[in-house]
Amino acid sequence: MRTNYLFSYKSRFIGLGLILLHIPIRLFWEMAYPGLGSHHLPTGPADSALFTNEHLFNIVSTILVLTGLFLIAFSKEKIEDEQISQLRLDSLRWAIYLNYLILLGSLIFTTGIDLFDILRLNIWVPLIFFIVRFRWVIFRLNRSLKTDKHHEE
């Protein structure tokens, strides 16, 4: 069979674990260091914000969640067949459409949008929308299987 560059079925649960793990860490950090919301990106290598705890923590927690989402999005299904591949491709296309729609929208309807916000959008929107859409079509597929079975019986 063709290689499809997907993670193994079990990695989905590792990904879920990473995201769940991130929640208590984040909560603990916010209790210990309030004011995390006002985090801003360092502007250059000389900026003193580059090596603050805040910034490093933010990078690490983003990597943690991103890795988790990646494993969830791109792990194999239990039976990875051609219909699943097609649904995956469809969902990926919708995710890209939505991402560019939002990017274009923010370009047209906002004045001087923060570059950091665009980066944030681009990081989360495609992955999260892909996961939600892909899971939704698989859920619908399983539901139609159940209703068909009732008809057969």
Partner: protein, 72 residues
């Protein structure tokens, strides 16, 4: 494209799950093909035909809406 997998399955007396296992796809895929929601690849169509010991044209056939083959 339509198909008569459901009929052939009844003749051979196997379930969707059994057919799915024999051609190495999920039960959902067989179900989608039977209800004309998914068009299988040539590879899968050939595999299914082989299970029923029939040429692929007897299992899968074009519908009128598909018949837009350009004649030269």
């Amino acid at each position: 494209m339509k198909n008569n997998i459901r009929v052939e399955r009844a003749i051979k007396n196997i379930t969707q799950a059994e057919l799915a296992e024999q051609v190495d796809v999920s039960r959902q895929t067989i179900n989608s093909i039977e209800s004309n929601k998914y068009v299988p690849s040539t590879l899968l169509a050939l595999k299914i035909a082989r299970i029923f010991n029939k040429p692929v044209e007897l299992i899968f056939m074009l519908e009128e809406s598909d018949e837009k083959i350009k004649k030269r």
